[in-house]
């Protein structure tokens, strides 16, 4: 199993964690990364610049029709729902909030699970509401790898707890272990799980 995308969702407290992940991500990992957060609208619009300072990879804010490309980091714009189309480019919507959130981590994770299925690595970080719990559940259902930040290391454990109510993720880890886990998954490139025994021809 090769992986094609890493998606990371979070809200309150996630900026520090994201900053560290982006800074420390090894050069050999060229998967596109999409980051979706909903802190207050003003904060999230600073995120592209903040993260660009930490990495040589291009950090871009998602726009409609923007294709997803290797070795780039994409950030959901504030106040729109973000989707990944089956044709592998981004789309946005101005539909009302879902789970009190816009962008909704649930909606985005679901659209990625639909497009990339088992080729997805999904990470849910600290957050102040349950947004992301249903999304990561769907990721697991579609065969993707699920990683949840451990509640005791999360600035706001509400999101991790909500996720743990719904699924047993592949990994529940402190934020400081995320890079090494990504590296491990990337290097192994194949996870022996019963799901993969289904025939998807």
């Amino acid at each position: 199993m090769t992986f094609k995308i890493i998606i990371i969702g979070g809200s309150t407290g996630s900026v520090k964690v994201l900053s560290s992940i982006v800074e420390k991500l090894p050069k050999e990992i060229i998967l596109p990364i999409v980051i979706i957060t909903h802190t207050s609208p003003n904060n999230t619009s600073l995120l592209p610049d903040l993260l660009q300072n930490k990495t040589e990879r291009s950090v871009l804010q998602c726009e409609p029709n923007m294709p997803i490309e290797a070795n780039k980091i994409y950030i959901a714009p504030p106040n729109y729902h973000l989707y990944l189309e089956p044709t592998r480019y981004f789309s946005l919507s101005t539909d009302p909030h879902v789970g009190f959130s816009r962008p909704s981590i649930d909606l985005f994770f679901e659209s990625v699970a639909d497009s990339f299925g088992p080729e997805t690595i999904a990470i849910l970080l600290t957050g102040a509401n349950a947004d992301g719990a249903m999304g990561i559940e769907y990721i697991q259902k579609m065969g993707g790898i699920t990683i949840v930040q451990s509640p005791d290391t999360a600035e706001s454990p509400i999101a991790p707890h909500a996720a743990l109510q719904k699924i047993t993720p592949d990994y529940v880890i402190p934020d400081t272990d995320i890079i090494s886990v990504i590296q491990d998954i990337h290097n192994r490139r194949f996870i022996n799980r019963s799901f993969l025994k289904n025939d998807f021809t």
């Binding site: 029709n65 714009p77 789309s91 919507s93 101005t94 659209s111 579609m142």
Partner: protein, 277 residues
């Protein structure tokens, strides 16, 4: 085949049947945001799956109205993205004033908030009298609401803030009459507006326009349909005329990009070039 591939096949067949039966083409709407609206339609029809909605297409007289109300996007606000209206006032109105008569098209006008915002702006700039404004939408029920121009009073404060941010010098309430907990647009603003059905996916050019506004509609379409619409706008707008899109929309990925010059760095306003090289 992944489960989602099967789902997309089901959706393709359903939308194809809808198109063939009624001529409404949702086949090229962006599938990401469409999925959720298909789900609410399923619930409304009490159908356990997408393909189980297909019999409704042929045997349920209420199907079309229900489908349109769920599948078309109907969220709108007055003076949404105030910066757009501010730039419109500053950069485009002076040019529009040089024409003795103006045709303006608000495409995908939904329940009317956008077109009444434009009418207010044109009125304040002494342009409204010489304008023919065509406000079109795919949804008959949205157009019925738009024609009435009645909105909940509790939204007016938000609308007023956005109106002020756009450069408005008065109070947006000046343009409404109060009826209980509702506000109705004053008749003077409606006189130059024609509300009519038009389907961006299938219908063509109907008039030459000086200004076309289509905001937060194209994001709901896939890339191909967006391009078709932008081509339609390019064909409809006069040389040196303007096309205004929604904040996150642009012509970057379109084949008509080189027909236009982007006239603002901060908002998607484009002017059709007068010469083609």
């Amino acid at each position: 085949m992944l489960p989602h591939d099967q789902y997309q096949i089901e959706v393709n067949i359903f939308l194809d049947a809808l198109y063939q039966r009624f001529g409404y083409d949702f086949r090229n709407y962006a599938r990401g945001s469409l999925k959720r609206r298909l789900k609410t339609l399923q619930t409304a029809l009490d159908a356990p799956s997408i393909s189980e909605m297909i019999p409704h297409i042929f045997h349920n007289d209420d199907f079309l109205a229900i489908a349109l109300s769920h599948l078309s996007v109907q969220f709108s606000e007055m003076f949404r993205e105030p910066l757009f209206f501010r730039i419109l006032r500053q950069e485009i109105v002076p040019i529009l004033k040089t024409y003795p008569a103006l045709n303006i098209w608000v495409a995908g006008c939904s329940t009317g908030e956008e077109v009444y915002s434009l009418a207010i702006l044109l009125h304040e700039e002494d342009l409204l009298e010489r304008c023919h404004i065509y406000a079109t939408d795919i949804s008959h029920s949205a157009l019925e609401t738009a024609v009435e121009g009645i909105y909940p009073s509790n939204l007016i404060e938000k609308y007023n803030n956005q109106y002020i941010s756009s450069g408005g010098q008065h109070n947006i309430s000046d343009y409404f009459m109060t009826r209980y907990d509702l506000k109705a647009i004053i008749p003077e603003l409606k006189k130059n507006i024609i509300f009519t059905e038009h389907n961006l996916a299938v219908d063509g050019v109907f008039c030459e326009m000086h200004l076309i506004i289509c905001r937060n509609v194209l994001i709901y379409f896939n890339k191909e349909l967006q391009n078709t619409c932008l081509q339609l706008f390019s064909d409809s707008v006069i040389r040196q005329g303007y096309v205004g899109l929604g904040e996150k929309e642009n012509m970057e990925f379109s084949t008509v990009k080189s027909d236009f010059t982007k006239i603002s760095d901060t908002t998607p306003l484009y002017r059709k070039k007068s010469h083609f090289s």
